[in-house]
Amino acid sequence: MGELRLMKGNEAFAEAVIRAGADGYFGYPITPQSEVIEYLMAEKPYERTGMVVLQAESELAAINMLYGGAGTGKKVVTSSSSPGISLMMEGISYMAGAELPCVLMNVQRGGPGLGTIQPSQSDYFQATKGGGHGDYRLLVLAPASVQEMSDFVPLAFDLAFKYRNPVMILSDGVIGQMMEKVELFDSIPRWTDEEVIEKNGDWATVGKRPGKERNIITSLDLDPYSMEKHNHDLFAKYQKMEEEEVRWEEINTEDAEYFIVAYGSASRISQKAIELARAEGIKVGLIRPITLYPYPYKVLQEKVEKGAKGFLTVELNMGQMIEDVKLAVKDNSKVEFFGHVGGVIPTPEEVVEALKTKIIGG
């Protein structure tokens, strides 16, 4: 068993970044995730593993530091919260276009605009449908516990390098700020420069290798036919993610007639709601998407085929993921939404009430 600690989600993430063998963290403080860079600075990873930690002058600079670092084939990571992630969107689009691997953490807070520092899940569309300009997708993981704030870091790096694509961990202010027991994984050594060149030297700018073609990192192509092909190549990659990387969790679904669909902190609240509803004899289960892109459409479709009587999506927004649930369910079952926004957290009792009025009785 790995080392056990009581940690905040943000701290567990920061510790996991060091242990995952990251080469560089570049970030800018913003509530509710500033503990990440504070923890990293206090831990001196430049002494522990040789990892670079730098407080950038803005999120704009931070994401472009990631672009530069990722372009050299090293493991780079940043974290921010909603307004800061918006500011990074230009760079994220460039990284998707140039096919650069990186890990992005968004500890969501309420918006729009400067919004609030309270938890939210209102960046779902931004994270899963593109966000920046151009046709692209991020691979999006949604942690629902402090444990997953740690566990998803090495997974995210693996996926980022497997697909040469940015991976976003879409968390929220609840998961980032709450403390839970976490079992830390054993440290993974950082790649040596030689290993970086061996693994990524065919595409990364590591200095022109003698006897080999030089490498160029760019998202620019002025020839429309070649640019169209690039877009098709990107979508072939996204198609592969859709076939191979869908992850989800089911709780109490074996005999369920009704389903709550929720991710992140909303899934934790919904888990309690299911206990309460089951105590009243309602056969309800939870489907928790772990990857928000690619989305587990097939899982929902299977429930419909087995006669599901209705789906309630619970989100800390005005109803964003419900669009994906509707894409899966179509008109073959009932789909309704319940949520709060602006930093207001739904209670399990409210969720049960919504299930009764909107799905069962509705």
Binding site: L66, Y67, G68, T72, D193, T205, K208, I216
Partner: protein
């Protein structure tokens, strides 16, 4: 004797007649720059230095957005293409992750002084151990000749068609003097490439800048005052004359900071 192309080649192209060869660190791609533009010369001296200093396999360069957006097509080393203005941020991470590589950014005035002003300031202020080559032609060349932060007072551009009115449009920004004031910069110089004499001096300055980085001294920064005959709507010859008579009055040539010390009064 009829002088065909092949005959000329046979008569002229002999090793003993050779006085100059293009460095292999410039590709054979036709430059996308207008004939007469200073970019080609700046590319050449930079790549000649990378070759002469034996840095071919240890160089990572960064191209900006602007006329030199395609610099990676011409400079035959590992290159990254940055978002508009962000080249110094890329360079920061690359150098910190690969401290033994020679890392440079090559940026125009719109890229470095306008949209990327913040990245330029903070990168220089942190004293990142990188080299910034700054091409200042006082105009946005690629987008068709709009006003730049460096456009001099009275200069006509497509967005200052009656001349830059400093009361309405602000003053030209002397980024090079600004970064020279920051403790993070070690070598700061302003050069030009419009005559053979100036090309030689500019090459010496860029060499000093590269050496500063190899010695780990902090940020080295070389501005090259250049021309834009297309944007300025002049012949190349006239553009060079205009540069000498007008631009250099505002942008004085020479070293500004050497060995971490100001060597010129900043006005």
């Amino acid at each position: 004797m009829e002088l065909t192309a092949d005959k000329i080649k046979e008569l002229v192209v002999k090793p003993e007649n050779k006085v100059y060869t293009k460095t292999p660190l410039l590709t054979d791609k036709t430059l996308s720059y207008c004939p007469g533009c200073g970019h080609g010369v700046a590319h050449r001296i930079l790549m000649e230095l990378v070759e002469e200093m034996g840095l071919e396999n240890d160089t990572i360069g960064i191209a900006p957005v602007g006329c030199s957006v395609l610099a990676y097509e011409f400079m035959n080393v590992d290159m990254q293409e940055a978002a508009h203005g962000r080249a110094p941020a890329l360079a920061t991470a690359i150098k910190r992750l690969w401290p033994n590589k020679f890392v440079f950014s090559y940026q125009g005035d719109g890229d470095l002084a306008a949209i990327g002003g913040n990245e330029t300031l903070h990168t220089c202020n942190r004293g990142e151990n990188i080299t910034i080559i700054f091409i200042n032609n006082g105009i946005y060349g690629m987008t068709g000749g709009q006003m730049a932060p460096t456009t001099i007072p009275g200069m006509r551009t497509s967005t200052s068609p009656y001349g830059r009115d400093v009361q309405m449009m602000g003053y030209p920004l002397k980024m090079t003097e600004i970064v020279a004031m920051l403790p993070g910069t070690y070598y700061v110089s302003r050069q030009a490439v419009y005559s053979a004499k100036h090309v030689r001096k500019a090459k010496k300055a860029i060499k000093k800048a590269i050496e500063a980085q190899l010695e780990g001294k902090g940020t080295s920064f070389v501005e090259i005052v250049s021309n834009c005959n297309s944007g300025w709507k002049m012949t190349p010859v006239k553009a060079n004359q205009w540069l000498e008579e007008n631009m250099l009055d505002y942008y004085h040539l020479g070293d500004i900071k050497v060995d971490g010390k100001l060597v010129k009064e900043i006005v």
